[in-house]
Amino acid sequence: MASPKVAVVGAGVIGLSTALSITETCPSCSVTVLSDQFSPNTTGDVAAGMLIPHTYPDTPIHRQKQWFKETFTYLFAISNSAEASEAGIHLVSGWQIFKSTPKEELPFWSDIVLGFRPMSKAELQKFPQHQFGHAFTTLKCDCPPYLLWLEKRLKATGTQMYTRKVADLWELHGEYDIVVNCTGMGAHQLVGDKQLFPVRGQVLKVHAPWVKQFIRDGDGLTYIYPGIHRVTLGGTREKGSWSLSPDAGTTKDIFDRCCCLEPSLQGAQDIEVKVGLRPSRQCVRVQREVLSQGGVELPVVHNYGHGAGGFSVHRGTANEAAHLVGECISALQGSSSRAKL
């Protein structure tokens, strides 16, 4: 197989980073990205893009740690380069605070982020309702510039990108040799994965350029994440809700909760409300599958179900998916050489 034709379905952070990984590990591949949405209309565009991992209950911890480490290392190098501002990657320091001391003293990622340590008594004084906290420095990945940067790098490798709604993976058979499914929430419909469920998140993006530090409540519901131009205030975790419409009551609630942690936010301007559906699953599906219909086969690599942790593990899962694409190619080459006998 001289130039395997790979279709990546989905142009969010997972689709684009997976496509890029594939061009890196398989330079002879011809990669095409197909998606009905591109930035700024992907789920990731709503997210703050903070590198603070979400723990997937059914994925082994060592695998999650490996994904996070690869992602952190990759973005760390970009943040340190001249391209940092174009790619939208920057370091940010802050605090994760808990109302009661968590059972787990150290999260699995504490040695990957920078300078992780417990908060001092003096620092905790800022949060009278919280007993305990962690201070650390991590990376933030501002989605709109990051996706544009990924698109630019993909175009430089000759990758084509098309706006196209794929209703059925079999549509792509014949046109492409391998299909990579990075459709996030769309996989619920596209491949009928009933284990995939939305966790609705509403956020506010505000203008508050004096906020330089992140603050996150350990319950994951209230957070303040300063980005390049806007601060993301969150949030909600509404399991099973498919609504993409902003809710006014929720907006007020988020604003109040954040102002409680950072009173200066009362002076925030230009409040924009956004909603995204975290494509959630007990474990991220990074897996090969060979679809079969009427004696015909279609190799598929799935890479979806990242829920609340997409940015934190995107590069790691992209690399793993690219590796699986490599396996698909070997399998195809193996079977095509057998066919010649």
């Binding site: 501002s85 300078g115 908060m119 004096w210």
Partner: protein
């Protein structure tokens, strides 16, 4: 009781506010007047980035360390108030970088979360092998000075746009106490060979992705002669110039290049940053802050002057501690005047 404050930078305005807060209810006749030839946004305090950070060493000057601490604690206490944004006050974390191990600074227990940098963090800064991380405060002069001015105006303090030529000029008008907060130009009022300019130059850029301050140190070339990057609320300040004895307030092309090249080497992404301004100012440098009373004999008058100048590159850092010390000195003047007894007159 007329009190004239000379100077409307951070020192003059904060001293005025501190005195008014402490004494206006005890002394209904207290009348404060601020005299200055430059007001915000044209003072030295307006040009400074506004980072709370003392010099590396206090040279055993524990008094100054105490004033720094009082200022930090005072500001920290205001962080959650509704005034914080208007004051230009916010938390910020960042890095101090060295090419060799350095002793811990006098302020390590004043700031929040002070610690050494980890090896992974040092990877961010090739050429630097040692450093600190801590959380401190920003107090932007461009916001703080107008805020102080508003507080003072609300309290009935009067402002006069004029260059005071001598202490005598004010005393002959009936002023009882003069607070000399004239910073760099104190020498015009009373010669002080110890007061020298520490010229600085800064480039203002738009680099909103920078969320940390980064101060590098070259222990051989002295404080602030090594690149620094300080992100503010509207723009990021690039600097690294300290020229002792240079009185020029003109931007210098060679200094510009030095700042730009060294900061871009520190943070390569700055190459894409848009330059939005440039400024030069004179840090009023002195071996120690002059904060003391002086009685000046003018004819048969005993005129009281409180000096509060010579804060170098740490005026914002130390201002409130000094304002409180100046207020204490003022208090002692009031005490003495009372102790002089009732004014002489016939006893019936």
């Amino acid at each position: 009781m007329r009190v004239a404050i000379i100077g409307a930078g951070v020192i003059g305005l904060s001293s005025a506010l501190c005195i008014h807060e402490q004494f206006h209810s005890l002394l209904p006749s207290l009348q404060l007047e601020v005299y200055a030839d430059h007001f915000t946004p044209h003072t030295t305090s307006d040009g400074a980035a506004g980072l709370w950070q003392p010099y590396l060493s206090d040279h055993g000057n524990l008094q100054e360390t105490l004033w720094n601490k009082e200022t930090f604690d005072y500001l920290l206490g205001h962080l959650h108030s509704s005034a914080a944004k208007e004051m230009g006050l916010f938390l910020i974390s960042g890095y101090n970088l060295f090419t060799e191990p350095a002793p811990d600074p006098s302020w390590k227990n004043i700031v929040l979360g002070f610690r050494n940098l980890t090896p992974k963090e040092l990877q961010l800064f090739p050429g630097y092998s040692y450093g600190w991380f801590n959380t401190a405060l920003m107090l932007e002069g461009r916001s703080y000075l107008p805020w102080l001015t508003n507080r003072l105006t609300q309290r009935g303090v009067k402002f006069f746009h004029k260059k005071v030529e001598s202490f005598q000029e004010l005393f002959s008008q009936g002023v009882d106490v003069v607070l000399n907060c004239s910073g760099m130009r104190s020498g015009d009022l009373q010669p002080d060979p110890e007061l020298q300019p520490g010229r600085g130059q800064i480039i203002k850029v738009l680099a909103p992705w920078v969320k940390h301050f980064i101060i590098t140190h070259d222990l051989k070339s002295g404080i602030y002669n090594s690149p620094y990057v300080i992100p503010g609320s509207e723009f990021t300040v690039l600097g690294g110039i300290y020229q002792h004895g240079n009185w020029s307030e003109e931007n210098n092309a060679k200094d510009h290049k030095s700042i730009w090249d060294s900061c871009c080497q520190l943070l390569p992404a700055l190459q894409r940053a848009k330059i939005v301004g440039e400024w030069s100012g004179l840090r009023p440098a002195r071996p120690s802050v002059r904060l003391e009373r002086e009685r000046i004999r003018l004819g048969n008058l005993q005129a009281e002057v409180i000096h509060n100048y010579g804060h170098g590159g740490f005026g914002i850092t130390i201002h409130w501690g000094c304002a409180m010390a100046a207020a204490r000195l003022f208090g002692s003047i009031l005490q003495e005047k009372k102790q002089l007894g009732t004014p002489p007159g016939p006893r019936l």
